[in-house]
């Protein structure tokens, strides 16, 4: 039995502890966001956040996430109430087939949570592990930049509040 916390919810799963996190998310928890792309850590289609880091869910055995916080694209928002990064991807129409996009969003989310002021160059370097075959890259970059702006401005008032305390 392995316990994992996914998008804030606690789950106990009974699978072979060697099972990669990706299959547990997709099959046991029925979450579509993380995708199988290569199973080799080469494409990023399976990217999710583990605590605050982007990781390849296809490589991490479930036993290694026991008790840790996993976040998937489902945890950021819904079609009706998207999170800021999802919103930015919609606003920029940053998808063709879209298969790579949840992984892109999770990798970007991890960067922007750590560094809302990420530069264009930061973003390009940070996104390097994730592949897109449709050539949606320019829109993905635009979406991440757009999300950086909204997340920065959302952050400022709360910083000010903190400073005022």
């Amino acid at each position: 039995m392995t316990e994992l916390i996914v998008n804030g919810e606690r789950h106990t799963v009974d699978v072979d502890p060697a099972t990669p996190l990706l299959y547990v998310l997709r099959n046991e928890l029925k979450l579509n966001g993380a995708k199988f792309g290569c199973g080799l850590g080469q494409c990023g289609a399976c990217t999710v956040m583990l605590d605050s880091d982007p990781v390849f869910a296809c490589l991490i055995p479930i036993v290694a996430v026991d008790g840790r916080r996993v976040r998937t694209v489902e945890g950021l928002g819904t079609a009706e109430h998207p999170g800021p990064v999802q919103r930015a991807f919609m606003d920029e129409q940053a998808a063709q087939c879209g298969y790579c996009i949840p992984g892109m969003i999770m990798r970007a989310q991890a960067l922007l949570e750590r560094k809302a002021g990420a530069s264009e160059d930061d973003i390009r370097q940070h996104m390097e592990p994730n592949l897109c075959r449709c050539g949606t890259h320019m829109r993905i970059l635009a979406a991440v930049k757009r999300a950086a702006v909204t997340m920065r401005s959302a952050e400022k008032p709360s910083r000010q509040r903190e400073a005022g305390r």
């Binding site: 099972t19 919609m90 790579c100 996009i101």
Partner: protein, 743 residues
């Protein structure tokens, strides 16, 4: 029931509903004309093959509208564009429509979703059918209001009369019979009044895709789902010699090992269990037989030496008259792969004698027919439903995965089976884009114009799509295998290997020969643009070489040979937006390139200008700014066009700079993204701007494959401009660039 009986029936029904409508139809009924011996009038787009209106549009008793297309969403945004067309012509909001895509049980058979045909074939059909349905609704309202049609206006699902009376479509449908043939020339909305067509409607599929909604065949989890994996032979020629599958059958979760000749698969309750079982099975299987692949290094020679069927596809004037200087060049393209990010996947269920397959195939009907042959079942009992997958860019493993799923599902009746290929399988077994060779020679006249043009292209087929069970990978591995059907060339004007082989430029004396090579050293098929990518790369590289020979700016040189004003317009626009100036001095290591093509010489126009920086020490080519100008005819969704062209440029940049399938004499060695690298974020261009020339009221030309050819040549031309060295072998990899510039 034949269509004619249907018409008669529907006319009888019509006669009961009102005189005005009956007159309208008896005057225009195409099948009446047919009955009287006249040839049937040509109907627009795919309506010509499927003339019944209710093949395309149904309105139920509550007024709910469903639109049907035989084309599939591949990530190109086609669903959104079709909804826009139907919404505009039916005068409803896009959100008020439901669109059903490729499904052998529900939609017309529009063949493959390929060749940038969707807008032209299906879009045109939907637009015209919708326009006619709106006319019928107006006619019905006219009868009900007892008012001339001219005093009625459709408006958001209603018909509004000049005197203010309103009828909802739902109130009119009782008298509406759409089971009738379309007529040519149904009046369409005036482009000047468009409120939905031509607007950047957000893509209908994106919200689910960015939030983890159910969006792909990979995401389907019907009750009772089981997981399967296939074990492929180590090389294309290997046969399964011996296998003791007993240990695998005892593994946790394993339901069944499926074996038919050399086709091998395993079914398990859990997905990871299926993968572990696949690995175990793979290590237990003993194979015999070795492939004999050609040497990668001299694939061009191998291709050229194979027996060919030659066709002269252009022969005009008489060669050998040119007085000016001449040039000759040979260009090479390696095998390249589609390389979907998500490996091929399919679900199948064999229940009550029917095989249902959910597939991301580009052609559900041809696949259905091929599966029926493979399974030796009547076509009627095979049902293929298109469900989106990862972008495919042509004929990849989609159909083969569907065949795997069907064969496995037959072995575990009643259960839905999900098969997904592993990355190594996708890389190793998808049918690649063919290796090609082209040779061109041309000579100038005294005025610096091309007088003589000779062009030859050598290529395998660009389609081994099913089309026959033998084009499904698993069919080759069965105990009773199916033979692969003999490939045939795709004829001009669209062409296959010779697609875009004929220059659009005005050349008085020209001869273009297509060498079609039936024997395939490596399994190949349709990859985005087919031969156009290579032919445009060759012709547009060579145009720059000829411009240099003529001592002219390459943009000016192209215009000098172009009569087609729409071609001239995209070239002028791309040059202007880029800020192209003849003979502009550039910093060392920097170069700029230009290229143009009209896809298939009959579809969308695209011109591209870009700049590059070449790092001399490494041979790395970094693309800077890219400007494209495109004319796809009437624009339906400008952002959709932009998205497609941006994607085409980036994808083509990856093909052009990085990609070549690796193989030894025994096996394919490009088995993952490490051994088949593609463009990643740090290497992206700094900027891509796409400018669209809208042509209101003109036919849709399609966009999906317009950009790849010009992008490749623009890059090669920019590299030549930066380094002074002309590179004619794809890809322009750092090692090759470095070698070419001699460092």
């Amino acid at each position: 029931m034949n269509p004619h009986t249907q018409t008669k029936l529907s006319r009888r029904r019509l006669l009961q509903t009102g005189g005005a409508l009956a007159v309208y139809f008896s005057l225009r009924d195409p099948l009446d004309a047919l009955a009287q011996g006249a040839p049937p009038p040509k109907l627009p787009g795919s309506l010509d093959k499927f003339p019944l209106l209710d093949s395309w549009i149904k309105i139920d008793a509550n007024g709910a509208i469903t639109v049907f297309t035989g084309k599939a969403e591949l990530g190109q945004g086609i669903k959104t564009a079709f909804i826009q067309l139907a919404a505009e012509e039916l005068s409803v909001e896009p959100g008020d429509l439901t669109l059903v895509t490729a499904d052998t049980g529900r939609t017309p058979n529009e063949g493959y979703t390929a060749g940038s045909h969707s807008m032209k074939d299906s879009g045109t059909a939907i637009q015209n059918a919708a326009a006619q349905v709106r006319g019928l609704l107006l006619d019905l309202a006219a009868t009900r209001f007892n008012m001339p049609r001219e005093q009625l206006k459709p408006q958001r699902g209603t018909v509004v009369a000049a005197d203010g009376r309103v009828l909802r479509y739902a109130e009119l449908v009782a008298g509406l019979d759409l089971h009738r043939p379309a007529v040519p020339g149904a009046p369409k909305a005036d482009p000047k009044t468009y409120t939905v067509i031509g607007k950047p409607l957000p893509r209908v599929d994106i919200p689910a895709k960015v939030t983890g909604g159910l969006a792909y065949v990979q995401d389907m989890r019907p009750d009772g789902l089981v997981h399967a994996r296939v074990v492929r032979p180590p090389n294309p020629a290997a046969k399964l010699k011996a296998l003791d599958s007993q240990p695998v059958e005892q593994m946790p979760g394993v339901i069944k090992v499926v074996r038919d000749g050399s086709f091998l698969a395993v079914v398990a309750a859990g997905e990871f269990q299926a993968i572990q079982a696949m690995n175990a099975l793979s290590s237990l299987a003993q194979w015999e037989g070795q492939a004999n692949l050609p040497k990668q290094a001299n694939i061009s020679d191998v291709i050229r030496a194979l027996p060919a069927q030659d066709t002269v596809i252009l022969n005009q004037g008489s060669l050998g008259q040119a007085s000016g200087r001449a040039l000759k060049a040979t260009y090479h393209r390696p095998y390249q792969m589609h390389g979907a990010i998500g490996p091929s996947c399919a679900l199948a269920q064999f229940k009550d004698g029917t095989m249902t397959v959910w597939t991301h195939s580009q052609g559900v009907y041809p696949l259905r027919d091929s599966l029926a042959e493979l399974l030796r079942m009547p076509k009627e009992q095979v049902h293929c439903i298109h469900t989106e997958g990862s972008g495919c860019y042509g004929h990849n493993g989609a159909d083969d995965a569907a065949a795997d799923a069907a064969l496995i599902a037959r072995a575990v009746p009643d259960r839905p089976v999900r098969v997904q290929w592993m990355r190594e399988q996708e890389h190793g077994w998808e049918p690649y884009g063919p290796a090609m060779v082209t040779e061109v020679q041309a000579a100038l006249d005294a005025d610096g114009k091309i007088a003589d043009w000779q062009y030859e292209v050598w290529s395998n087929t660009h389609s081994t799509r099913p089309g026959g069970a033998g084009n499904l990978l698993a069919a080759l591995h069965l105990a009773q295998p199916f033979a692969q059907p003999a490939p045939t060339p795709i004829p001009q004007p669209e062409g296959g290997g010779d697609r875009n082989g004929i220059p659009l430029y005005a050349v008085p004396n020209a001869r273009v020969t297509s060498h079609f090579i039936p024997a395939m050293p490596v399994r190949v098929s349709a990859m985005r643009g087919l031969g156009a990518y290579m032919n445009v790369f060759s012709i547009e590289s060579f145009m720059d070489e000829m411009a240099a020979l003529a001592g002219t700016d390459p943009v000016e040189f192209r215009l000098r040979h172009l009569e087609d004003t729409r071609a001239r317009d995209v070239i002028a626009l791309a040059a202007k937006e880029f800020g192209w100036k003849p003979n502009e001095p550039l910093p060392k290591g920097r170069g700029r390139g230009f290229a143009f093509a009209r896809y298939k010489n009959l579809a969308g126009y695209a011109a591209i200008a870009l700049d590059v920086e070449v790092e001399r020490e490494t041979g790395v080519v970094q693309i800077g700014r890219v400007v494209a100008a495109v004319d796809s005819g009437q624009v339906v969704n400008p952002d959709g066009i932009r998205n497609q062209i941006e994607g085409a440029i980036v994808q083509s940049a990856s093909w052009t700079l990085y990609e070549s399938v690796g193989y030894s004499e025994r096996e394919i060695t490009s088995r993952d993204w490490g051994s088949y690298p593609i463009l990643r974020f740090p290497a992206m261009p700094s900027k891509i701007d796409v400018h669209i020339i809208d042509r209101p009221g003109q036919p849709f030309l399609g966009t999906g494959e317009a950009g790849q050819g010009p992008a490749s040549a623009a890059i090669a031309n920019a590299v030549a401009s930066a380094t002074g060295v002309r590179m004619r072998s794809l890809p322009l990899s750092p090692a090759r660039v470095k070698a070419a510039i001699g460092i």
